[in-house]
């Protein structure tokens, strides 16, 4: 009996707990590589011999870039699930879309924060309003924050799901603009172009970045899994509440009918 209660009242399972442990170990390993084992970015000027580069600030690369990529993944997943909901109208698609939007918004916020912390020493500014990559990412964050607000603001769950799906499909149009902005507006933005695309990374730096992708991917999967299960339990709980209310109402009506019948009989 106790075991049954545990399995229904928690979002955890043996598999998700194992995933959680692996993710935590992965995060610790990533931080070790990123902040201790990799070298700072230092190059020598060919004529003056002076050291140039990003120095220790480069270490944020190992978090910032994977966070950005998995923000894209989460929001694309949200859009796909939203489209699925509009076609199939099933709770699974809606719960997945909502979970992906919530986790993606957290990741997007972390992208903005890590980018800003990196920008202060490297760019000499916390934020640059003229930078297209920064602005389109901020717009993306605000649109999905709006999505989350809309989901909470609408009482009718079906209307909430339908409106949310439409907003998600519109908001995700910003993604290709975010991603391609440094190419489309080359030399019109402070943000550098893709490093991986031009293979300007190698050895331990490349390994640590790949480790970052793996670990942040696990973090996304773990958060998504639990958020999906929370959403599913909330939905079942709400359904159970409605079912209980209907049953109680029916019971009242039945008792009333009985009383009426008794009254008529008397």
């Amino acid at each position: 009996m106790t075991e049954t209660m545990e399995t229904t009242d928690t979002t955890g399972s043996r598999g998700s707990r194992l995933l959680g442990v692996v993710t935590l170990l992965g995060l610790a390993t990533l931080l070790l590589f990123a902040f201790a084992l990799t070298e700072p970015d230092v190059r020598l000027h060919p004529t003056t011999g002076q050291e140039i580069g990003q120095f220790d600030a480069v270490r944020l690369l190992y978090l910032h870039v994977p966070l950005a990529v998995f923000t894209y993944v989460a929001f694309v997943l949200c859009a796909v699930a939203s489209a699925g909901y509009l076609v199939k109208r099933t709770a699974w698609f809606d719960t997945m879309a909502y979970a992906a939007a919530e986790v993606g918004t957290v990741f997007c916020g972390l992208v903005l924060v890590t980018g800003s912390i990196w920008g202060r020493p490297v760019w000499n500014t916390w934020w640059e309003w003229g930078d297209v990559r920064l602005m389109t990412t901020l717009v993306l964050f605000l649109m999905f924050t709006g999505y989350l607000a809309l989901r909470r603001a609408t009482v009718d769950p079906r209307a909430s799901a339908r409106r949310g799906a439409v907003v998600a499909l519109v908001a995700v149009l910003d993604l290709p603009i975010v991603n391609r902005s440094v190419e489309w507006w080359e030399n019109r933005t402070l943000h550098q172009k893709s490093t991986l695309g031009e293979l300007k990374i190698q050895d331990l730096t490349l390994f640590t970045l790949m480790l970052g992708f793996l670990v942040l991917g696990l973090v996304l999967a773990w958060l998504l899994l639990h958020r999906f299960r929370v959403g599913w339990l909330e939905r079942e709980d709400a359904g159970h509440g409605v079912a209980t209310a209907i049953a109680e109402r029916r019971a009242d009506i039945d008792e009333g009918d009985v009383d009426a019948a008794v009254g008529e009989g008397a």
Binding site: L44, H45, L61, G130, T136, Q192
Partner: protein, 153 residues
């Protein structure tokens, strides 16, 4: 009908985004454009991107600390007086975006610069951000890739 309206709204949003972003992104000129547009720019403030050449001079202008150097991009050169503290990672060979205006006259201490533009004008700037490249190859003693005009490649 609802699909048509949705498509129109989406097209309008995309159109506004592209137009707005297209206008907003012209945040800095290359040095050659800044020189070419000098008459049009007048004494108005603008942004310019380029790479500082080796040979920086520290001086004082109007009672404030300043750094004097030559900026290069797209094969063009401009002498610069940057008033105030430069960026933390400000170095020759690392591109910067400067904000300021054209001023007539040579920079103070021009004789001390390695390769000044010395065209009777200079940029008086007071805002500097670094435009870093996307090169993360780390090797012991690796030299930076510096292109002909001083831009990191």
């Amino acid at each position: 009908m609802p699909i048509l309206v949705t498509l129109l709204v989406v097209a309008a949003i995309v159109g506004v985004l592209v137009k707005t972003l297209g206008d907003a992104t012209l945040v800095f000129h290359e040095v050659d454009a800044a020189v070419e547009l000098r008459a049009d720019l007048g004494d108005g403030r603008f942004r310019v991107v380029g790479t500082p050449l080796p040979g920086l001079l520290e001086t004082r202008v109007d009672g404030e600390s300043a750094v004097v150097f030559t900026l290069c991009s797209a094969g063009a050169y401009a002498d610069v007086v940057h008033v105030g503290d430069p960026a933390e990672l400000f170095q020759p060979g690392v591109p910067v975006v400067l904000q300021g205006a054209w001023k007539a006259g040579s920079v103070p201490g021009i004789a001390g610069l390695d390769a000044p533009a010395d065209d009777g004008w200079h940029l008086r700037t007071d805002h500097m951000v670094v435009k870093h490249d996307n090169d993360y190859r780390v090797e012991e003693g690796r030299q930076a890739d510096i292109a002909a005009c001083g831009a990191t490649g």
